[in-house]
């Protein structure tokens, strides 16, 4: 069987490559062991600079409460706003809280007072979320004070107490969210990039010319290029499952078979994209650049880092055509929620559609010329 010899040849070439086997091993480890610690959108450890002009019991209590919340690190107690601004400039603090003179007396006499919150919004997420947290803490504090001061017997103060319950990821651990998504990234590179670059590589060295005058059918040739990377991709994916379980204790709530099924479908569609690119490019450089161009955009629009729902309307429409989005959804749903195949019907159809579309395009765009 010719296919067997072709695949054997591919594996020999991969093994002999001074660079590729290492990449195939190191890359998943890096992505699985390092990236989840880096890619973290939780906001913690916000540097807070407090300017307390009041120096009263009440302002002291407030500062204490903020300090013990766990979100803030009180970096400095400045004497003036200008001084506090300087610590923001030098990146020591992120947020300034200014308590005015007469904070306590206003509170006690008039029943209301004001504080100033100024946030450094260079990092929008940190600034926005930080000032939100701070406002919440101050609100809580004011409720406490009110309760203490108007202890009207028999009259309960009507308060709606909100107790959030985070389903499927109770501790809001970002790693639980990012680890399954990282596996998608890995398959994208291993099964989408590598075979495409490999085919273009044969074009570049001219070896495809020698193959084209043999009776080897183009289809066999391409399949022989894809299969080794599919095998590698699945081995690496399984390795990722093990790392996720051992290192992070993240095991899919749903069935692993579902993940494999969708991974297969995804790999099929993404290597289709790779083949289309390889058909249109003559050099590795071209192919590499085009693949990067699309992959970076697809990753940014996949919902991996920012939820698709947060995107503007037009961008949300664009993501309909993003195979990465569907596979990341599947990974999240299976890993966190334990969804079965039936619940993932729409994703299945979408991925199947991509697989058919890109592979048909790949076949049609292949011309007889080398």
């Amino acid at each position: 069987m010719v296919l067997k010899y072709l695949i054997e040849k591919e594996f020999k070439q991969i093994r002999r490559n001074s660079f590729l086997p290492r990449l195939i091993l190191i890359f998943p480890c890096l992505i699985m062991l390092v990236a989840p610690w880096i890619v973290n959108l939780e906001v913690k450890d916000i540097g807070l600079n407090v300017i307390d002009h009041d120096h009263s019991t009440y302002s002291g209590k407030l500062i204490q409460k903020i300090g013990s919340s766990g979100y803030f690190r009180i970096t400095d107690l400045s004497g003036s706003y200008a001084e506090a601004m300087q610590s923001i400039q030098s990146n020591e603090s992120d947020i300034i809280l200014e308590i005015k003179l007469g904070f306590e007396s206003d509170l006690l006499k008039e029943g209301s007072t004001q504080v100033l919150i100024a946030a450094n919004a260079v990092n929008g997420t940190k600034g926005g979320l930080g000032s939100n947290y701070l406002a919440q803490i101050i609100n809580e504090y004011s409720t406490e004070i009110r309760e203490n001061f108007q202890p009207l017997p028999n009259t309960a103060i009507p308060v709606i107490d909100v107790v959030p319950q985070n389903r499927f990821n109770p501790h809001l651990d970002y790693k639980v969210f990012i680890v399954p998504a990282q596996m998608v990234l890995l398959l994208t590179i291993l099964c989408g990039f590598l075979p495409a670059l490999n085919i273009v590589g044969e074009k570049e060295t001219g070896t495809i010319e020698q193959i084209n005058v043999t009776p080897v059918v183009k289809f066999t040739f391409i399949i022989a290029k894809l299969i080794p990377y599919w095998i590698i991709g699945f081995v690496v994916l399984s390795l990722c499952f093990v790392i996720a379980a051992l290192v992070y204790g993240i095991v899919p709530t749903g069935s692993l078979l579902t993940v494999y099924l969708f991974a297969g479908l995804f790999v099929l569609s993404y290597s289709g994209i790779g083949l289309v690119v390889s058909n249109y490019s003559g050099t590795m450089q071209q192919a590499m650049f085009v693949m990067f161009f699309f992959t970076i955009i697809l990753i940014l629009m996949s919902g991996m880092f920012t939820p698709v729902n947060n995107m503007p309307q037009w961008a949300q429409i664009v993501t309909i055509f993003n195979p990465l989005k569907y596979f990341i959804q599947v990974m999240h749903l299976v890993y966190l929620k334990g969804s079965g195949v039936w619940a993932l019907c729409s994703q299945f159809i979408a991925l199947l559609g991509f697989a058919v579309f890109f592979n048909t395009w790949a076949i049609l765009s292949y011309r007889k010329k080398a």
Binding site: V2, Y5, L6, K9, K12, Q13, R16, N17, T205, G206, T207, E209, Q210, I211, N212, V213, T214, P215, V216, K368, K369, A370
Partner: protein, 294 residues
């Protein structure tokens, strides 16, 4: 064995081949002789089914290159001008691989490649990329032969190969010819033309002449003189100004001159004598005629 009729191929506005026709006999070495850019590689790519002609037909081994391309691929061997084997596989692996894709084994046709392969066998564990230029050519020829093709296409096999290896290579071709294999070989080296059974002189996508090398030389219409002086450059300028000189060009350490009345005049301090034309002289003459035609 190979019959080409009115093949034309254009790349955009550039005419790579223009109404090319020729045919070869069975078991002969047919040389396509022409300078770089003459269209040799394009012609080979059409004949090996890698490229579609714009018009015209080509029959290889009784099969049409457009319609029956799949069968043609089973029984022709092609050695592209650029080394196109897997550089990261060893000599042995390359040979086994190409045998396998043709559904055969090295053992089966070993007798055919034995003479060539023996010379590189000591290096069979070496990666193809680490071979010398001459050895690469031998390996490429072995790989092109391993499935026992009936027609062998060699695109500039001796370009960039040292003179000794070139000579060896042509000896190997002669041996293959004895096995009944038809060989089409292209080369920019005119001295190799004499080693072919028939040659086609090609220039700018047109075939200027097809014949045996001997006949092409015999058809040279003028008397050719070789001349030499202390300064060939000054002599060349001097000759070009003379009204009785038809053409004059440098050939090695001599200048080759054709006079309009086919007799050499006396020039002081200049050695001048009548010589037999070579293929190169014929080529230059034909080129001149073609330029006048256009």
């Amino acid at each position: 064995m190979v019959t080409v009729q009115n093949i034309t191929k254009q790349y955009g506005k550039t005419e790579a081949l223009k109404n090319v026709s020729f045919s070869t006999g069975v078991g002969e070495i047919f040389g396509i002789i022409g300078p770089d850019g003459a269209g040799k590689t394009t012609l080979f790519r059409i004949l090996t089914t890698l490229l579609l002609p714009d018009s015209g037909t080509a029959i290889v081994n009784g099969l049409d290159v457009v319609k029956d391309y799949k069968q043609i691929r089973n029984n022709v061997g092609y050695m592209p001008g650029r080394f196109s084997l897997y550089q990261d596989l060893t000599v042995e692996e390359n040979l086994n691989f190409f045998a396998a894709v043709f559904n055969t084994t090295v053992k089966e046709n070993y007798y055919l490649i034995k003479g060539i392969y023996k010379q590189i066998e000591p290096f069979k564990k070496r990666k193809a990329g680490a071979l010398s230029g001459g050895m690469k050519q031998k390996l490429a020829l072995s790989c092109a032969l391993v499935h026992k093709p009936e027609v062998l296409f060699l695109d500039e096999p001796t370009t960039g190969v040292d003179p000794v290896s070139r000579k060896e290579f042509w000896e190997m071709l002669k041996d293959l010819k004895k096995q009944g294999i038809t060989i089409l070989v292209s080369t920019p080296y005119m001295d190799e033309a004499a080693l072919c059974d028939h040659i086609a002189l090609i220039q700018l996508g047109r075939i200027m002449s097809i014949n045996t090398p001997q006949q092409i030389v015999a058809e040279y219409r003028n008397k050719l003189y070789a001349t030499k002086s202390e300064s060939n450059y000054r002599l060349l300028k001097q000759l070009k100004l003379r009204s009785d000189v038809a053409s004059c060009y440098i050939s090695g350490e001599y200048l080759h001159v054709v006079f309009k009345n086919n007799t050499a005049p006396f020039i002081e301090n200049v050695e001048i004598h009548n010589i037999q034309p070579t293929i190169e002289d014929c080529f230059i003459q034909l080129m001149g005629v073609n330029n006048v035609d256009r």
